[in-house]
Structure formats: structure tokens, C-alpha cells
């Protein structure tokens, strides 16, 4: 009886309001991040408004770890633009520059050829087997601006998952143990 009573007393003595406030605060942080991301998607018209550069194919303009801001508008794609595109069968989008555009007379169809500035040849080797041109539906957005170095956090967490879990664990511990 004494043991059970002590346990019940211990539970009752928890700061219920404080715990609830912490949970709500954490939820606010998560949902705010989600709202910002979804808002960015709507404003930019691109399903992936911010991407991290993962390879050196666009050096010296873009290096690994740079963050690119994308925008997808109704304006037609033209040579020289830096576009982000998906290739069928590949998970990660590619950021390269348009070097050729052929736009049809009757329809809005467009054939696009891309190349990385730091690559020797064009991207036909990267496209799906037998594919010679990109079309509009492959394009996810065009790059309009960038920030250097900021994307390294993402790269490190992707390539070293242990660091990601350590970071999340540390943050979780911080939240649990903080008194406010």
C-alpha cells in the first residue's frame, strides 16, 4: 500500500501544466517548420524549393554544400538557365545548365539538353536509357539564388547517420531536462 501510494503521489506531483506547455511548444516548432516549407512550395511553384548541391559538376559556380533556391514559373525554359530536373529511375534531382532548346510550333512541347559547367560532355549519359531530350515535365525548378556552405549540415547528416541520431538524441535530452 505504501509503495503504490508513493507512486501515485509521485505521478500526481508532476508539473502537468509545465509538461503540457513543453509538448505544445515542441509541436509548435515542428508545425511551424512544416508550414514554412509548404508555404515556400506554394510561393515558388516548385515541389522542392530548396536543394543542396551534392556534386562538383557545376564548379566553380556551385560547390558541394551550397544551397540553391528554386523557382518554377510559367516562363519558358531558355538556354543558360540552371534547372533542376528529375530523371526517370533516379532518386536525386540534378542541377545543370540548359545548353539547347527546341520549342515546337503548334504545341507547348519543348526539347531541352543540359550540361554541367564542370563536365566535359552533355547530360545524355545521365538521362534514362534511350532518352535524348528533357521535356517540361522533367523540370522541377530553375535556380534563382544560392547560399554557400549552409548545406553542409544536410550532407553530413545524410552521409553519417550516426551524427544525425546523436544530434537528435542530444536535442531530445535537452528538451526533457530543461526547466523553464
Amino acid at each position: 500500500m505504501g509503495f503504490i501510494g508513493d507512486t501515485i503521489e509521485s505521478i500526481r506531483s508532476m508539473q502537468v501544466r509545465q509538461v503540457l506547455a513543453q509538448i505544445i511548444s515542441l509541436g509548435m516548432i515542428v508545425t511551424s517548420a512544416l508550414i514554412i516549407w509548404k508555404g515556400l512550395i506554394v510561393v515558388t511553384g516548385s515541389e522542392s524549393p530548396v536543394v543542396v548541391v551534392l556534386s562538383g559538376s557545376m564548379e566553380p559556380g556551385f560547390k558541394r554544400g551550397d544551397i540553391l533556391f528554386l523557382h518554377m514559373s510559367k516562363d519558358p525554359i531558355r538556354t543558360g538557365e540552371i534547372v533542376v530536373f528529375n530523371v526517370d529511375g533516379r532518386e536525386i534531382p540534378i542541377v545543370h545548365r540548359v545548353i539547347k532548346v527546341h520549342e515546337r510550333q503548334e504545341s507547348a512541347e519543348v526539347d531541352i539538353l543540359t550540361k554541367g559547367d564542370n563536365n566535359f560532355g552533355d547530360d545524355r549519359l545521365l538521362y534514362a536509357h534511350g532518352q535524348l531530350w528533357l521535356q517540361q515535365h522533367h523540370i522541377m525548378g530553375r535556380a534563382v539564388g544560392f547560399l554557400p556552405y549552409v548545406g553542409w549540415v544536410t550532407i553530413i547528416m545524410t552521409e553519417k547517420p550516426i551524427i544525425k541520431y546523436l544530434l537528435i538524441g542530444a536535442l531530445g535530452l535537452l528538451v526533457i531536462t530543461s526547466k523553464e
Binding site: P60, G80, I99, V101, H102, Q105, V144, G145, L147, P148
Partner: protein, 167 residues
């Protein structure tokens, strides 16, 4: 309120805010630059002009490209990507843009240049429409900043024409 952790957090947050403001100010200052670049492209020779086995026309030509793009550089400019493209219309395509040559200008000192070169990328039509074709050459530049927004523009040069016969 005055613990080490709280103070460290406040300092770090303030530092990141200042850094973001500096990036924004650097990028915004580029809006006040009014560039006045000049460019000229001459076609010195049509090296060869043939119909490929797949039916598409292809041209190889020697270009003389001169430009002064110094005014594009600000203190926030990392590089300028410059390229020359051929633009023309065919019965099948309302617009054809084919990049012929491109280069990266790493600094203001290299921004005034004269280059004598064959086209770096193959000038291939989607079809067989190039005989006697009038086309424009456009020089485009894309300004890559150290941080922030990228700018692009071009100069259109007209009056170019391909031969009536293959050679």
C-alpha cells in the same frame, strides 16, 4: 535567465541573424549596379556543313568573339558565365536555341576578351532546315554572386546567314 547556456544561445542566434542580414545586404547591393557590356561576334568561316545520316543538318564554324563585360562585376560577384547561342525558327519549331560556345570569367581582369574558336558544341538542327537559314547570335551572361540572387541578360546580334549549299 543568466545561465551560460542561455547566454550562449542568445549570442549564437544574434550572430546568425547578423550573418543573414549581411548576406541579404550583399545580394541586395547588386541591384544598384547598372552594367553596360559590349559584345561582337563574327563568323569567320563555315568549316563544314552537312546533312547527317539521321537527316539532321550540322554546321561547324569558326567564330571571332570579343566582349567587354567588366561592368558586370561587383564586389559580390564570384564569376560570370558567358555563352554564345544561335537562335532561329524552323517550320517545325517556333524557337531553336543552340549554345555554340561558353566560358567562365573568374574576375574583372579577365572580362575583356577576344577569342578565336570553332563552336564548342555541335550546331545540329532538329531536321534539315539550315540551308540558307537566317539566324541570330545572342551573347548571354549569367552573373554568379558570392551569395544571393543570380542575374542574367543578353545581347542579340542579327544578320547571320548560313550557306545555300552543303560544303
Amino acid at each position: 535567465m543568466h545561465s551560460f547556456g542561455h547566454r550562449a544561445n542568445a549570442v549564437a542566434t544574434f550572430a546568425v541573424t547578423i550573418l543573414a542580414a549581411m548576406c541579404f545586404a550583399a545580394s541586395f547591393s547588386d541591384h544598384f549596379n547598372s552594367p553596360s557590356p559590349t559584345a561582337s561576334v563574327k563568323i569567320l568561316n563555315i568549316n563544314w556543313f552537312q546533312k547527317e545520316a539521321n537527316g539532321n543538318d550540322e554546321v561547324s564554324m569558326t567564330l571571332n568573339i570579343s566582349a567587354d563585360l567588366s561592368s558586370l562585376f561587383t564586389w559580390n560577384t564570384k564569376q560570370v558565365f558567358v555563352f554564345v547561342a544561335a537562335e532561329y525558327e524552323t517550320p517545325q519549331n517556333a524557337l531553336n536555341q543552340v549554345s555554340l560556345w561558353d566560358g567562365i570569367i573568374p574576375s574583372k581582369e579577365h572580362a575583356k576578351f577576344l577569342i578565336h574558336t570553332t563552336n564548342k558544341y555541335r550546331f545540329i538542327d532538329q531536321g534539315s532546315n539550315l540551308k540558307g537559314k537566317d539566324f541570330n547570335l545572342t551573347m548571354h551572361w549569367h552573373i554568379m554572386p558570392k551569395t544571393g540572387k543570380m542575374f542574367a541578360d543578353k545581347i542579340v546580334m542579327t544578320g547571320y546567314r548560313l550557306p545555300e549549299q552543303y560544303r
